[in-house]
Each structure stands twice: as C-alpha cells, then as structure tokens.
Symmetry: C2
Subunit: 438 residues, 2 copies
C-alpha cells in the first residue's frame, strides 16, 4: 500500500537518495534526511483490524510493537531479517496525583522505560539495525549520552554487528555504560561533551565506513514514530489534547511529529494532539530559539543539567522538531533541575519510577499550567523515556543531598532490637497522621 524513498528535508533541496544508501546526510546539501512514505489513504481502512489481529499471532515480527505496524514502515524488502527484541507494547498508566500536582490535568504516562534495554531508543533501533543488517553493515557507531548506546549494543549484538560507542567522558550515567559493555560494545570515552563526541564521529563514520545510528539516521525516526500509533490504539484511537516529551537531541519530537502527521493523512485519527517539548534549563537551545523567534538554532557551548539524557547543546534534529511543532501547534517549555527532581518525586507517589530526563515532562506541564498555557483538565500523555534504574547514581545523589527525606536504618538480627525500631517507626507515622493538639 505504500512506497518509501529517502529525501532531504530542506525545501530548497529535496534531493532524493535511494533507500539502500548508507548516508545519514543529504549528498547534495548536507541537510537532514527523512523517509518519505507515499501512502494510499483509501487502503488504510482495514489496518486497525489487522493490527489488532496480530496481537494474537505467535510470529516474532507480530510480537514487536514496532513491526506489528509494518504498513507504516514500507522501506524494507519483502522478506527482511527483522532484528527485534519484542520492543514496544509499553504501558500507558494514569498518574492522578502527579496530574493534580501539575495543576489539575488528566495525566497518563506512556512508559518507554519498559522497552528491552530500558528506553525509547529501542523502537528506533530495531528499525535502524534491521536496515543495517539488510545493507550488510559490519560496524555500527553512535555518539551517546547513554540510552542510544545500550540500545545499539543490544540490537547490534543480536544482529552479529560490531558496535562502537562514543561517550562524553564523565557525563554518562555509569549504569548505561555498564549496560552497553555487558552487551559487548566497545566504548570510546571522549574528553568532551556529547556534542563534541558527535561532531568527531560524523566525519569519521563517513571516512572509515562506520554506519551511523544516531537519530540523524532516518530509519531511527521511522521505528520511533510507532509510539503514537500504539498510544492511539491503547486509547481506542481517541487522541489526547497534548503529548509531552523531554527535549534533548529532539529525536522524540521529530518522530512523534512525523507519526502524527502520517496517522492523520491515513485517516486513522481525526485530529492531531499538540506536541509539547520540555528542555532542561542549561541545555535549552531549542526552547530559546522558539521563545525568541530566531531563525536558526544557536548551540549551547557547555550544556549543564542533572538530566544527562538531555544534556545536549546542539541538537541534530532541531529542524525536524521545529516542523513538528508547526504541524501540531506545539509548545516548548524549560524547567530547572530542582523542578525535575520535584516532578520525579511526585511520579514516585503514583508508583512510577523514571530517569530524571523523563520527569522533565511533568515539571513542564506544571509550568505550562501555572502560566495558563495549558487548560485545566486537559487530557495529557507524558512520554517517560527511560527506566528508573538507568540512573541510580542520580537517586543516590538525592539520598546523599537530602537524607532527611529518606529512611534507612541498620539493626542487629535480634527480635528485641528490630521490634524496638519498628515500634518507634510506627509511632512516628502515627504522630504524623494525628498531630498533637495541645
């Protein structure tokens, strides 16, 4: 029902490359590439039924929350070797307390941390590594703050492809590096920022024939866009008012924008939700560009935030993200590290854990509500991008910084000692419930 080609997004260029090209930048002007899918909307009628039926299929391809929607990914040959870990099918969970705290919105989270390697990156990586395998690639590489690297490492291992990771030295969560190494990736720690690492890798990849799997790789965006299809299906195809994502390299904003536009073209949704991008103060060049109305993005030389996953000063996908905001009448906001920390604690009250970058979404919603830029009772889905366990160093730093907020005790293994402690703890919480009135 559809044909795919690779096209430059620059309006003045629109150069086309073949799907089999290994390049991640336009051969003509150096611009960003995207996959252009020419769909036939008239044939979309049966898709919802087909996708539902596949939920009962025992085939591996149908157990993937990306490839179950393969009609939206028509770039592959008829019988591709799919490199999948059954990614997707992630939870949509109502978070009432966090929604109240954020200013009275009807909030649900779509938790991408439940993906195989613990982040949203897996959706794009299955598409990208499947394409790499089809192209016969021997070595894949990425620059990464951590989540891309563990995802690349897992899928490359499964495909039998060597993986090289360029990480900013000292600015990656230890758990993410350990994870990538556990999958056998080779780690190159570059003494600089993510942006430095990415800037070094780009020409080297070209020169040495490494296949670049950063989100400038257009196949990444294709896999990643399926998050909105799955989200709409979980909501019986009723779009929310807003979809909120953290903004780092802006791959999420780009892919969600594209996914929504395609669903609308196909007639699978009746209206397009507004896309909201939340950046961290200290790493917010996209916010500044939109807020100030400047024509181009001015990179942030030394991005700073505790949310390492979005600690990016020169986001590669800003043009696609800006287009996504235009398509969806979107919004951008910025939040501080403290606001992120508070939002994370609020999500924890709903039983939801995440890495700090993910909590930026809820912090941003609160700020938009306070400014009257989002309506009370709005129907909002926040995309949580990474697992709580992706950044236990961050949790530990909070335990160390505010020990009074956490409770940990050590006792000898004797009944009397333990009883005494527990009785004291119970009395204490009793006091907290019924404060003395005298």
């Amino acid at each position: 029902m559809a044909r795919a080609s690779v096209r430059c997004i620059e309006e003045a260029c629109r150069h086309r490359q073949e799907v089999a090209s290994r390049k991640c930048a336009c051969e003509s002007c150096g611009g960003l590439l995207e996959i252009q899918n020419e769909f036939t909307p008239a044939e979309a009628g049966g898709l919802k039924t087909i996708w539902h039926q596949r939920k009962m299929s025992p085939d591996a391809i149908d157990r993937s929350g990306v490839w179950r929607f393969r009609e939206l990914l028509p770039f592959l040959d008829a019988n591709p070797r799919i490199i999948s870990l059954a990614e997707g099918s992630t939870p949509l969970v109502e978070t009432e307390q966090a929604g109240d705290w954020a200013g009275g919105v009807r909030l649900a989270i779509k938790h991408q941390g439940s993906n195989p390697t613990g982040s949203f990156k897996d959706l794009g990586m299955t598409a990208c590594i499947t394409q790499a395998a089809a192209l016969g690639v021997a070595v894949v590489a990425c620059a990464s703050t951590g989540n891309t690297s563990s995802s690349m490492a897992a899928y490359a291992a499964r495909a039998g492809i060597k993986a090289l990771l360029f990480a900013p030295y000292g600015h990656t969560s230890p758990a993410k590096l350990q994870q990538a190494m556990d999958f056998g990736a080779t780690v190159i720690e570059v003494e600089g920022s993510f942006d430095d690492a990415f800037k070094l890798l780009t020409p080297l990849a070209e020169e040495l024939g490494l296949y670049l799997v950063n989100s400038v790789n257009p196949y990444r965006i294709e896999g990643q866009k399926t998050i909105v299809t799955e989200m709409m299906e979980q909501r019986s195809w009723v779009p929310p008012d807003y979809i909120v994502v953290p903004g780092g390299n802006l791959g999420n904003a780009s892919s969600i924008g594209k996914g929504l536009a395609e669903l609308k073209t196909l007639g699978l949704i009746e209206r397009v939700p507004r896309l909201v991008v939340i950046q961290a103060d200290g790493a917010s060049p996209f916010y500044r560009m939109i807020a100030s109305g400047t024509a181009g993005l001015i990179p942030e030389e030394s991005p700073q935030t505790v949310a390492t996953a979005i600690r990016i000063g020169n986001p590669a996908n800003w043009k696609k993200a800006r287009r996504a905001l235009e398509w969806t009448k979107g919004l951008v906001e910025v939040v501080t590290d403290n606001e992120i920390s508070e939002a994370k604690a609020m999500l924890a009250r709903d039983g939801v854990g995440c890495e700090p970058a993910s909590a930026a979404t809820v912090a941003g919603i609160r700020k938009l509500r306070a400014a009257g830029r989002m309506e009370r009772n709005a129907d909002v889905v926040a995309v949580l991008t990474g697992h709580q366990l992706k950044d236990t160093a961050y949790i530990q730093s909070r335990l160390d910084a505010t020990p009074e907020k956490f409770r940990k005790f050590r006792v000898p293994a004797r009944l009397d000692a333990v009883r005494k402690l527990v009785e004291a703890l119970l009395a204490e919480s009793q006091e907290a419930v019924s404060p003395r009135t005298n």
Copy 2:
C-alpha cells in the same frame, strides 16, 4: 464463573480461612495458605476471546497483563479498586544463539524484567496490594533480597500505604535498595541473611499488625500465576515442552505450577509443560532435597551465590514448589556462579540482558542437556525474572575481574587522536576475522 476461598495446603489440615483474613499462615496448623478457586470448566469456552478483546480496551484494568485475566482471580469483590501499573504483557523473544549454546534446544525467553519495577514480582504485587487496599491495610512489610522490595514500594506508594522493607545488610544489589527508597519505602537493614530477616519479620508482622507481602502471602501467588496464561496466549495456546525458572524462595515455581494446573482444569491447554527449577550452587536446599529424596527441606545456613535474588537458604514455598514438580513431572538442577556468568554472556549475544539469577535458567538447561535429561530440539521457555539494570554492581564486578573481555578507551576530543584509535580497533577486528596465514 468461580468462587475463591483460602485454604491450608497441608493435607492433614485443609483448614479454611475467609478471603478477608490478613493472615499469611494457617490459623490452625501454621502451614502455607493458598487461594482455592472453584472454576466451572464448562464456562471457560469464551475466555480466550474475551481476553483477546480486552487488548483493545482503553480501561486501565484491561491494560494490565494480570487483571486482563481476572476470571482466574475471583477473590475480589465486584468493583474493587485495582492498584495496577499496567504490569505484565512482557516480551517472549527467541534466543537462538543461547539455545544452541545450551545444547541445541529451541529456546525463547519470557522477560519479566520488562515489568514496571523491573522484575516478575510486579505480577504478584498488584494482586497482593489490591487485596491490602481492599482490607484497609495501613502498613505493608516484606523481607527481601531486593526485587520484592522495589515492587512493594512502588505499588504501596500508588495505594497510599506505608511500606517497610527488611533487607539483609550487605547482600542486596545497591540499585534495588536505591529503587525502593526512590519510591519512599523505609529500609531496615538487618545484620544477617535474607532468611534471618524473614524469620524476624514473620512474628513481628503478626504482633504489630503489619501486612506481610512476601510470597507466603497467597495473593502474591495468584497474580504471579498469570505469567503462564499470557505465555500460552503468546504461543497461540501451544504449550512448550519445558518452562524453566530460577529457584530462590520458590514463589515462581509455586505460582507457575498452580497456573498450569488451573489452565489444564479449565481445558485451556491440552497438556502441561514440565516445570524446571534451577538453583544456585551454594543456595540449593530444594535441589538437595529432591536429588536425595529426603522427606523435608534442610535449610542452608549460610547461602552463598553472586545471584543475590536467589541467595536464599530456607525457601518458604518449598512445599508448594515440590507439589508443582509432582503436577508437572518437573526437574531440578543446580549451577555454579561461573556457569551463571557464562550463560549471561551468551544471552547478551542474543541482545538479551538480565540480572544473574535469571541467567541461571540457561546455565541449567545446558547442564540438563549435557546429562541427557532434556531432549535435543526441545521447545523451551526460560523465565528471566529480573532486568539487566537490577544488578549493575554485578556487571561492574565482571568488568573488574576480566578486563580483557571488555573494551573501554579514553581519548582527547581531537579528530586525529580518535581516528588513530578507531583505525586500530577496526584493524584488530579485521585481524580477528581473517587471521594471518603465513
């Protein structure tokens, strides 16, 4: 279609308690309790269709991989407040390389690490905390090697219930404690083993009115048993030959055994797969009991294994697990820490990460194959119980112990330096592919 009651599993006792009781041991003889569900098999015909239809439902209860099968959990009142984080719906993934390595079996893994808090415990915890909320419980408590505690912490937070965690001091993965504290649980580190902590908690819970949510709580087993229903559904209701689980406190073996027995009773599967329990050498009292044919379990005083999740010397559920082996013609095997480490590395080649206890399954399959106790080409599902990120300390200890197996380099952010390193790495892997012949 069914009625539930709570019954002692001891054949000589069979005392019944009401479903509303808070007790986790038989009031008459102190034995293990279980939920007895009286099903009407004739009414089971439409269940598969109902469960499939619920996959398109936008209701929170239907988005849970436990409560979607609620006909199998008839212990609740008509309109309960369900405490759910959309647990379940976990991936089933073919692992061909690990299957070859294990001795030529058709191996797939069912990855419980994709659950909300990163382990299989969430399936049981949603049932148990839902019951706690229905009973009006104020404080829940557990002894835990880590996974139970983070799960309890998340679900208790969501229910607004205070959570107390008894952890063996120095024998819990740091990530798991950080996770539980991130959800606001109070941690009591007991200077002893898991078994010591559990032994202290049991009488205290009774005395001080704490609701015990360890796997002796029969509602835990009810939620957890749904893993087999979901697994069978993913396989179009064709049972595998074997289901393999790691064995610590034996809650998995108990719940899977009960789940399979109920599915067979209801006519939803035609035959029952054999259940295989793998213990870690150094924490293998159940293995020793079965292998030596002794009548009762002799606890291991000082259990030792790197797989902290199954570092348990006196498993509470051994009688239920033994019964499950009888029902399913099951097997038990034991593996060393080295075998666990090797198996984990093999799973990584298939792109699958897990905590060490989970890898014990694949190590055990290899041993059973080598001994001829499992057939070549057997159709096997290994249940991986915990997420790779649950124990990054273990990954780090492997990196430290065998640095030659891992590749990590640090370079200045200069193109020449990075180029030189990457060229050397590529030449090296080229050499590995085509060794010199002269």
